[in-house]
Amino acid sequence: MDKNNLSEFIIEKGLFIMAIFSIIIIFLIISFVLLEGLPAFEDYGFFQFIFGLTWAPNDSQYGVFAMIIGSICVTLLAMLMAVPLSLLCAIFMAEVAPSKVRKILKPVIETLSGIPSVVYGFFGLIVLVPIIRENFGGTGFSMFTASLILAVMVLPTIITLSQDSLRSVPHEYREASLGLGATNWQTIKNIIFPAALPGIITSIILGMGRAIGETLAVIMVAGNVVQIPNSIFDPVRTLTANIAIEMGYATGLHYNALFGTGIVLFIIIIGLLVVANYIQHKYKVDVGGGYL
């Protein structure tokens, strides 16, 4: 009996260590990236780093503002294209489609999310860039091209998560509305969608996080010129692209500045995550108990 108790105790502690492993990893990531990135803030000045418009490692100029704007613009444009389509598709799958159609769509979306991002980037490079070049001028490497690719890449995230949140609206809501004579679309529009809205917003925010964090697919089609874009057909460079392109040969303060870019990216992602958690938390408190 004692031996049993001891091994149960050891197993429990072992599992506990496994459970806190993700926290340990995050702690390690934050400390190591900070360690390498902080010298850039110290030597170059935090505000100059964030709001500086010139990125010229050869002249020791490390301002990432244009890339922050680049990341935000690419992401917002991608969301503009992805959100309507993915919400319609999510509603279709959760509320409208017969189960046969659902059985086709589910693996389609799983596969879309499984395609490697480099393959998306390659497709964009080979197919989209020439199309954009012929129809809209320029080189074809542009913010718009990158947003198109990102829009497809975030579809599965938004569809899957908002579908979950549509599904978890209680059945009574649907039945009550249909019982009052509302059509299926009226029920979706007036009852189900509003009830699922917090979850849907969370799914959009998580999709944004994916888009901001995407690296290689964007590099392959965005043109990567450090500038604040004037039109959607201008080339842009995102924060992620900046790191991936220059890390291979960076030394000294340049190396630190790239880690600094990583810190900025990290802060944006944590910010989005906190907002997503806040929305989920808030609506749960507001309605008091039940899922609405």
């Binding site: 806190i20 990531i29 190591f32 499984g114 490697p116 579809l155 964090g213 992620t240 991936a244």
Partner: protein, 283 residues
Amino acid sequence: MSIKIWSPKISQKIMNAVFIISGIITILLLVLIIGYILIKGLPAVSLEFIFSDPIDSGKYGGIFPMIVSTLYVTAIAGVVATPLGIGAAVYMTEYASENKLVKIIRFGSETLASIPSIVFGLFGLTFFVLFLGLGWSVLSGGLVLAMMALPTIFQVSEVTITSIPSSYREGSYGLGATKWQTIYRVVLPAAIPGIVTGVILGMTRAISEAAAVMFAVGASLSVPISIFDPGRPLPLHLYILATEGISLENAYGTAAVLVIIVLAITIISNWAVDKYQNKIMGR
């Protein structure tokens, strides 16, 4: 009834059409991308392409070292992340009671899942390659991928284990089993389909990833023999071929191989999980 331009019945019909179109667009996107890559890439794929070494940085020749590298980093990621993910899920579902700690662990796992792959890449470089001195190697790359796969395996396993009815556990306790015996003999076997799905999703993420490993594996063109040798996984090879304009034909071939691997994994795992579930339900 209020007077509207469109009666509810007509707007219902319009919206149905809109929904169906959105579904069709989504399917078309997949067919278009996969179809294009396969049609352009399959002619380049042959046994020789798969089993021969690249010549002249990949301009000619095959992708054998890249396939070996991909197998190496994915296997390392799986071996490291699977026990950690399942163990963490078991702790969270069967042992944890402190509410605050559970919330922190869950937030930690969510955060880990949202960290951009390029930040993992930076971390892999400073921590595994330089700080731990593992060098540019498939081991460093595999460990980075393990960290990325961990939250997927953890979250899917946790959801699955939570959904196991408590009557299973009570039955086992009633027979005098200890807590661990119950978990090991009753809960985990019942949860296997879900856990396998989680592991496969995590591995697919590892197979597809290039940005996180590009500063850790070293991009070498030779076959890695030991885990301390550098390598170049398939996605990284595709990235280099495409962006440095080395060979369009070989880039198509590499992309096709990657797409086939991912498709095969998705189809086989869906089929296997379905079959296992039917077997359990059938009893």
